[in-house]
């Protein structure tokens, strides 16, 4: 196994509803999706955000578009405009996701971002 960052495998975009942050991860292709599906677990995500996310994390699979939908509760410090955070609506949360470490098989050929 070797390690890459999630940004080598997928794009991501985030949004908010109240204090809930969501991050959609769009894998570049089916192979990348299969790898991400196994490793992007609620536990991994919660640990990755190091205290920014205080509540439950759910991960939904969207096989049709090789994507994962991550929903994180109590994740925006109270949500807009109640939060003390600069990024009230968590638009940058997706960019943090891109720095998650992912294991890929040795010699795995990374596809360039489409």
């Amino acid at each position: 196994m070797s390690k890459v960052l999630l940004k080598d495998l997928a794009y991501a975009r985030s949004g908010d509803k109240g204090d809930i942050s969501n991050v959609g991860i769009m894998a570049f292709n089916k192979d990348n999706y299969e790898i991400l599906k196994k490793q992007v677990t609620p536990e991994m995500v919660k640990a990755h955000y190091k205290g920014l996310v205080k509540g439950e994390v759910k991960v939904y699979e969207m096989q049709n578009i090789n994507s994962l939908e991550i929903v994180m509760y109590n994740a925006l410090g109270g949500g807009a405009t109640n939060t003390l955070r600069w990024d009230e609506t968590g638009k940058a949360m997706c960019q943090g996701m891109l720095y998650m470490e992912i294991d890929v098989p040795k010699g795995f050929k990374l596809a360039p971002p489409p």
Binding site: Y60, A92, Q95
Partner: protein, 454 residues
């Protein structure tokens, strides 16, 4: 096969009316939907209206935008649906009619959708035993916040908009209808789809299509995951959806505009704020985002097929806005050399000063961010070596019951600055509104419309 073309004339406020004009002039659209509301907007407008009864709608859109848009749409018979009426659809309609008269337009029918304001219904629902449990926190009832509530609005669906279109409305002005309904309503109206079992999948498709285009230019390359590949990003167009009677659609954009409609920008919409993608809950139906097929046709066209859904829920979402105090912010900028060390000293001194006043870290709502280092994502991303940092913005945010208290908390950090620190004028503290998301039985939210004519 019958087809209609919907354009998204805005996806948030403020929007660019010239892009809506391009959809009118070049996009061959039949309808334009204008989403103007974020989650908090209704509360902010309710406060504005309480100070001045002629306020409470999105004036930049209703007045400045419509001066450009209305005559051009009228000339081509394009119907428009907006939620920019906010908490004062009546006054918004008056303004639109005034613009129509000034522009020499006659027999323009303007409908006002009513029913989303449920502030006056909270008490009667509670008497029946409905508790308005907080969907985010699970808190059981609204007793704790009830004295601080500024607005309560239900996300209503398409019913009254469809009614208004059937009655011949040229412009439909709504308040807190779902963004989605701005597009679902014309689709259902044009194709004759009803809230009946046999139309469930088709309405699921309409909900999906509405969800995709409601963010306007995000479909076309604004805020794009492929931002480096977006052509002419200074002139990103607004999207349109060619919707077919079989429940399929092609997403495109106004010809000649900048931007890019491709599979990545559309997928980014399909994952955006949907939460459970198997059950994307909207007032008009529950869409299944895990079924849709996305096919990039090239030339800024993406086809959506295989969309489906479930019948609409018996409850509607309600956002209750309530006051929670004031937020003060300060920003000072510390320069290299040793920018990170300087920033950390500012933070340390601030906390020491608060401690001297008997205020401990866990007892006050204060956050210190180092802009350029960790203000967006704290330690989720690696912290750079300070030799590589030219300057750091030390931003302090503090929340308290009064503006004065909030200001005093933040100020503890701003005058402890090391040599070379750059200051700017402090911002005024602002009132903080928090949101309480909850549900209300659909039967307790009757909706209707009234029609005015220019």
């Amino acid at each position: 096969m019958k087809k209609i073309v919907l354009g998204a004339g805005s996806g948030y406020a403020p929007s660019n009316p010239m892009q809506a004009v391009k959809l009118i002039e070049e996009g061959n659209v039949d309808y334009l939907g204008f989403d103007q509301l974020a989650e908090l907007t209704m509360s902010i407008m309710a406060i504005n209206k309480s100070r001045d009864p002629t306020q409470g709608y999105v004036s930049g859109h209703i007045i400045d935008g419509m001066k450009l848009i209305l005559p051009r749409a009228y000339e081509r018979g394009i119907k428009m649906i907006t939620n920019g009426g906010g908490v004062n659809c009546e006054e918004a309609a008056n303004q639109v009619i005034k613009i129509a008269k000034e522009s020499g337009l006659t027999k323009l029918k303007v409908a006002i959708v009513r029913g989303d304001d449920v502030l006056g219904r909270l008490a009667s629902c509670q008497e029946k035993g409905w508790k308005f449990r907080n969907l985010d926190t699970g808190e059981e009832n609204i007793d704790r916040i009830k004295d601080n509530i500024v607005a309560a609005n239900a996300y209503i669906g398409s019913d009254a908009i469809i009614g208004a279109l059937e009655a011949g409305a040229d412009v439909v002005i709504a308040g807190r209808c779902s963004d989605n309904a701005l597009f679902v309503a014309p689709i259902m109206y044009e194709f004759g789809w009803k809230f009946e079992e046999k139309y469930t999948s088709l309405i699921g498709a309409a909900v999906t299509i509405g969800h995709v285009i409601e963010c306007a230019d995000f479909n076309c390359g604004f805020g794009s995951v492929v931002w480096e590949k977006v052509p002419k990003p200074w002139d990103i167009g607004y999207p349109l959806a060619e919707v077919y009677e079989d429940g399929t659609a092609i997403i495109g954009k106004a010809p000649g505009t900048g931007g890019l409609v491709n599979e990545w920008n559309i997928k980014a919409q399909l994952v955006y704020e949907v939460h459970d993608p198997n059950n994307y809950l909207m007032p008009d139906g529950i869409a299944d985002m895990t079924a849709v097929h996305v096919e990039d046709l090239g030339n800024d066209r993406v086809r959506l097929t295989n969309m489906t859904g479930k019948p609409r829920p018996d409850t509607l979402k309600v956002q209750i806005g309530y006051r929670v105090g004031y937020l003060a912010e300060t920003l000072t900028i510390v320069p290299a050399p040793k920018a990170l060390t300087k920033a950390r000293r500012v933070e340390e001194f601030g906390w020491r000063r608060l401690a001297d006043r008997g205020l401990k870290r866990g007892d006050v709502e204060v956050q210190v961010d180092f802009i350029g280092v960790n203000s967006l994502l704290k330690s989720v991303v690696p912290i750079p070596d300070e030799d590589n940092i030219n300057e750091i913005g030390v931003r302090v945010a503090a929340k308290a019951k009064t503006a004065r208290e909030a200001q005093a908390l933040a100020a503890a950090f701003s005058d402890a600055s090391p040599v070379g620190t750059g200051f700017s004028a402090p911002h005024r503290p602002r009132a903080v509104i928090a949101l309480w998301p909850t549900l209300i039985p659909r039967e307790d939210v009757p909706v209707d419309f009234i029609m005015k004519e220019a």
